[in-house]
Symmetry: C2
Subunit: 300 residues, 2 copies
């Protein structure tokens, strides 16, 4: 089903399938708008922990009716779920009778050349609803997303889509179809991967030099790095001060669910920053952190 | 608020404002998808009768919390609500504390040159939510609609829109803005009005000649004629037989709410039929009706 962006696919799924009897599992930290969309329904939202290998497969997963997961690049930590975990998650979906909502966030921005297979591609028993998007590669403004699921469910989702807005704009569907069909999107992806990989390497090297105390997730792709500062760092203040210095940092507290939100995480995006601007930007960021209380504030 | 077509505006309003305590009044015959959108919520839908002057202002109107109305060209009958009725409906909205949802369907396709003012333009006490569209003039496929209401409500609707699909595609918003700003839409409207007026006249003259027994609503604009056949006509069968003869007729039963649906109404669209094809089409339609049982089937 073509949707008005991936968000629209998630909204359609939530409106059609969730009710007051539903336990909806979501990664924590995770995509807060998925939580907000689920909360428009009467479902119970269960935050599930995330490790350096993505969603942690603990007992809480088994109790869910739906599990929302971003396996390619976990949002916001960017880590990739290993193939063994994917196989186990699928086995559990069958054993404990839950449905996986696979938001294949930034799957196409994979730099190693060895992408893990999508859960949907391993799904032999219709346990996975797959949501994808062209927003991270072609253009977010076009609002072109898609959803893959059992034909019977897609029929119902299409009926709901029709009542909601009839259909996604036809001209954008047509233009995107031609762009894909003629191979332009594949070419674009090659260029994006090359450019983003270079920017990520520049960023990692600059961090090692200017902020050696910063602990960042192992990113094999994506468009940003997730960075853990020391316990006493308030990334909301860092965001504010960095902005004044011309560096945009995304503070990480908003991605945590529940009342206890760690304040010492932040995100550095690199996808729309020319390679030459990255190193000077990190140098500026390091100065801001020093001014906030010395390198100790990050290194303690 | 810009929406993905007028339908999207109606959906947003229904999702945000309707609940199990809501009585939602809707014209009968009327826009069935408005009924269907309202039924996705737990609101009570009250069908309200329609006359040759649009919505009938009876006591049932006063008991509604929301009244959905298509005053410019009532859908599907195409009749226009007189100014006196508009003023009275607004006065009642204040007196009986209800909100009017004005779907200004085909308001721009007005041929007399003296359009009645929109309810929203007469609304001095924020009693009207106005829903408009460019689907009937510029292009339905672009899915560009809009909603006008109190700023506080629009803020909430925008938040819901954001969770649903973030925003309508930016390229289509931009292109439409330029098209409107540079006056192209005004030129288009002039051409459409001239062409449609001519087609409507041709259709009315052809009906008088070939189907003199047909009773049609007085249309001062729009894109179709609403026609009442005799009591024993089954327009669903007419639709089927006419299609075989190459004439597309819209049977009217689907626009009635409730269990008692008259079968003898049908709609003839003229907006996308070249003027020269209209007269031969009506001649064909008359032959089909004759074959269905003689002119008596329409004239009894």
């Amino acid at each position: 089903l073509i949707t008005v962006g991936a968000q629209h696919g998630l909204y359609l799924i939530a409106q059609l399938l969730l009710d007051s009897n539903t336990i909806f599992g979501i990664e924590n930290p995770g995509y807060v708008d998925m939580r907000n969309v689920a909360r428009l329904t009467s479902a119970t939202v269960n935050p599930l922990p995330v490790s350096h290998q993505g969603l942690v497969l603990n007992d809480a997963v088994n109790e869910c009716d739906y599990v929302y997961v971003t396996p390619s690049h976990q949002f916001p930590t960017t880590v990739t779920m290993p193939i063994e975990h994917r196989v186990e998650l699928l086995a559990r979906a069958t054993e404990f009778d839950f449905v996986i909502i696979e938001d294949d966030y930034e799957s196409q921005l994979e730099f190693s050349g060895y992408p893990a297979p999508a859960l949907k591609s391993l799904d032999s028993s219709d346990r996975v609803l797959y949501v994808g998007s062209l927003s991270k590669t072609l253009a977010p403004g076009l609002r072109i997303g898609y959803l893959v699921g059992p034909a019977k469910l897609v029929k119902e989702l299409r009926a709901l889509r029709r009542l909601m807005l009839r259909h996604p704009p036809a001209n954008n569907q047509r233009a995107t179809a031609l762009f894909l069909e003629r191979g332009h999107h594949d070419s674009l992806l090659k260029n994006l991967r090359r450019a983003y990989k270079e920017r990520l390497q520049t960023l990692v090297i600059a961090l090692r030099e200017y902020l050696p105390e910063a602990v960042h997730s192992l990113a094999l792709g994506g468009s940003s790095l997730w960075i853990k500062g020391p316990e006493n760092l308030d990334a909301r203040k860092l965001r504010e001060y960095a902005l004044q210095a011309g560096v945009l940092v995304d503070s990480g507290d908003v991605y945590f669910l529940g009342s206890e939100r760690p304040l010492n995480y932040f995100r550095l995006g690199f996808s729309s920053i020319p390679n030459g601007h990255i190193r000077p930007g990190v140098a500026k960021l390091a100065r801001v952190i020093n001014d906030m209380g010395g390198s100790r504030s990050l290194g303690q």
